[in-house]
């Protein structure tokens, strides 16, 4: 199972974008006519030469993707991460043959199905039943395949009662559920998924991620673009980090996720009205049973008589896992003369479920909140648990408990 199914070499994609040049403050009719004539001439010229029409006076060529090389092996689940505009979608579009690369080369072995949007090609006038066939065909399923899975799809979407209603009468939730249900029953060799999971209610999203997990475990090759680091951390083995069209890092999922978070480090330099705080995580990757260690540098613009610090640790769903208050640990002394303070906070050892953590920091003085920083720092908890492997059950909840167990031999005898 080690053969390469996708090999990309020096992949690049350019787009033409237009700019408007600076305009004079006063526009005379003569100028307007002149400009219009000029642009008319230009577009006519472009058309004769068969070029693309670009609005604006100056045309610039931008590289949405440049010199990206990677290999993906059969059965791997690879996350593609990066900020908006990093080139993730462009990459997926090239891999799913929607657009051709401007440079480089990709070799793909096997049939690719791409899921760049939920409900592509749904027609509002057609009924749910008809749209299942339509959408299935668009995603590359055969009629026989759709017929075989029809009941399963309907069941997954939970729209039995409305199968013969035009989908334009559906609630948006029903619509999305039906659309995802069709997509979830695709069985390609290589699946390319853009951020399609960010739809529907919480329960349905869980169902979707569960389905994604199933697909991933089914031995299929999956490329998964997401901004949801938690989903990437829990679904993918490998990840590719793109930055402004170039490949920043690739490899196992946790180091790549850390690299992504590191790049967002600037977000942790927080400036408020009265205080500047630089928060830094000393241990960026937590191993099982590690303590969370946070270093703060606080620069004050005014005195704090009764300073308090609150720290909240949220998991990737936004749910609070743990809270920490400075007064329950050690009270912070009154700060008056110094205008800079460095704090080192180390929690008790905790075993947090693998995934992404987001840390919120709040500063208060005399019971009054001064500053709150949501998502001040983010941290990856890589997969560390030896217990998570089969045949053990899946852990639930935010914390993995370790306990001591004493077995009472005598009590045991009674039942035999």
């Amino acid at each position: 199972m080690n053969d390469v199914v996708i090999r990309a070499e020096g992949l690049g994609k350019t787009y033409l974008i237009g700019h408007e040049t600076e305009r004079e403050r006063y526009t005379a009719l003569r100028d307007v006519i002149g400009r219009t004539a000029k642009s008319l001439l230009r577009s006519a010229g472009d058309m004769i030469r068969g070029r693309q029409l670009v609005a604006g006076d100056e045309v610039e060529e931008i590289w949405a993707l440049k010199d990206v090389s990677f290999e993906i092996r059969r059965g791997e689940v690879v996350g593609i991460i990066g900020r908006n505009g990093a080139g993730k979608s462009t990459l997926l579009k090239i891999l799913s043959r929607i657009t051709e690369p401007s440079a480089g080369r990709v070799e793909i072995r096997g049939r690719v199905a791409s899921l760049l949007e939920v409900g592509t090609g749904f027609h509002p006038e057609l009924t749910g039943r008809e749209n299942i066939y339509l959408n299935g065909a668009i995603l590359g399923m055969t009629r026989a395949e759709i017929r075989r899975k029809f009941d399963e799809i309907v069941d997954f979407a939970g729209v039995e009662k409305f199968l013969d209603t035009p989908v334009k009468r559906y609630s948006s939730g029903m619509y999305v559920r039906l659309a995802f249900a069709v997509a979830a029953h695709l069985e390609p060799e290589i699946l390319v998924v853009d951020e399609v999971l960010a739809v529907g209610d919480a329960e349905f999203q869980r169902k979707c991620l569960g389905k994604m997990g199933e697909v991933a475990r089914g031995g299929r090759t999956v490329l998964f673009v997401s901004h949801n680091m938690g989903a990437v951390a829990s679904l993918c083995q490998r990840a590719i980090l793109l930055n402004r069209g170039t490949l920043h890092t690739q490899g196992d999922v946790s180091p790549v996720l850390s690299a992504y978070i590191n790049r967002r480090e600037s977000a942790a330099k927080l400036a408020g009205r009265q205080i500047d705080v630089a928060a830094e995580l000393l241990k960026r990757e937590l191993a099982g049973g590690d303590a969370v260690v946070i270093k703060f540098r606080v620069t004050l613009r005014g005195p704090l008589t009764e300073p308090r610090i609150g720290i909240g640790i949220d998991d990737d769903t936004g749910a609070r896992i743990a809270t920490l208050f400075s007064e329950t640990s050690a009270p912070i002394p009154r700060i008056e003369h110094r205008n800079s303070l460095q704090l080192l906070i180390e929690t008790e050892p905790v075993r947090i479920r693998p995934g992404m953590l987001s840390i919120k920091i709040a500063l208060a003085n005399c019971g009054q909140d001064i500053e709150t920083y949501e998502h001040a720092i983010q941290v990856v908890v890589p997969d560390y648990s030896p217990f998570a492997r089969p045949p053990y059950a899946r852990p639930r909840g935010g914390v993995l408990l370790k306990s001591r167990m004493d077995i009472d031999e005598e009590a045991h005898q009674v039942f035999v």
């Binding site: 051709e100 049939r111 339509l134 919480a202 089969p390």
Partner: protein, 304 residues
């Protein structure tokens, strides 16, 4: 976005136990088909690829037919009303007012309707297809399939309309007590000819319309203009002999003449040199249309 903590930990991924559901079904046997994507690379198995997507073609064509008359009061009757009214107007203007001669003893309405069938086929394929790619922009930019499918399936709608019209034509012929002869067996061949004749220019304009939306405005004009330039309301026999050959450069002339020849039971003569010229023009247009479409279809997603 939320995640249930019951989600398997990453380590569990190696689990070979199938959870059930389709995603747990066996992975399809690895195909050895190697696909290479490179700038400007010509698609080698273009036609086999097209064949592979025949089901999508069928489904898209079915969709276009199914939604065509949704939420209209008289529904499919629209396919009947339009040509019927056009026929009445043309019969009055060309037959009664201009007093143009018919072919042999053919009743004028039958002559007009026999000419209108191929014209409607031609013009609707042209207009439906040219807007089809832009109308399906969401598909083009999100899913891969041979783009040729979209204009082709849009053309199927026109074909369905024409088949309905054919029934009306037979009704009108029965009304006038006019019977076609054996030549009618060639009708399917001329039907194919009409489709091919329209496909060439349609593909060319469809591809151009993606890049330059000007063609959206050109098409209605072209269709209106063509209705009078082509021998729809009159017989092409009224064209002076000296001009007949050059007149046939309009491929629709050959198609309409062919339709009349096989539908009007020997009353309408086929002007052979002109017909061959039309065939040639159709072939050239078709080759050029497909060629241009194939060359530009890889960039559709970027331009649309």
């Amino acid at each position: 976005m939320s995640i249930d903590l019951s989600e398997p930990l990453p380590a569990e991924r190696s689990d070979t136990a199938r959870v059930g559901g389709s995603a747990g079904a066996p992975v399809p046997a690895p195909s050895d088909r190697l696909l290479i994507l490179e700038p400007g690379r010509a698609e080698r198995n273009y036609w086999s690829d097209l064949w592979h997507y025949r089901e999508l073609f069928a489904v898209l064509a079915w969709r276009d037919v199914a939604v065509r008359y949704k939420q209209t009061v008289i529904g499919i009757a629209w396919a009947v009303v339009r040509p019927l009214l056009t026929m009445i107007v043309f019969t009055i203007i060309f037959g009664r007012l201009a007093k143009l001669p018919s072919d042999g003893g053919v009743p004028y309405p039958v002559l007009v309707f026999a000419g209108m069938l191929p014209w409607f086929l031609f013009s609707s394929i042209l207009s439906e297809a040219s807007n089809s790619l832009v109308g399906n922009a969401n598909l083009i930019s999100k899913v891969y399939f041979p783009r040729l499918i979209v204009p082709a399936s849009a053309g199927v709608v026109a074909l369905v309309d024409v088949l309905i019209n054919l029934v009306i034509l037979f009704a009108i012929m029965a009304w006038y007590g006019f019977a076609p002869n054996w030549q009618i067996v060639f009708l399917p061949a001329f039907m194919v000819l009409a489709v091919l004749a329209s496909l060439g220019p349609a593909l060319f304009i469809t591809a151009l319309n993606v890049k330059y939306r000007d063609f959206r405005y050109i098409i209605p004009f072209l269709v209106q203009f063509g209705l009078y330039v082509s021998p729809v309301g009159f017989s092409s026999a009224v064209v002076p002999e000296a001009w007949r050959f050059w007149y046939s450069l309009n491929p629709v002339v050959g198609v309409i003449d062919g339709f009349r020849w096989c539908l009007l039971g020997g009353e309408s003569q086929l002007y052979l040199p002109g017909f061959l010229v039309s065939l040639g023009v159709v072939a050239v247009f078709l080759w050029f249309g497909i060629h241009y479409f194939r060359r530009t279809e890889r960039t559709f997603a970027d331009l649309i």
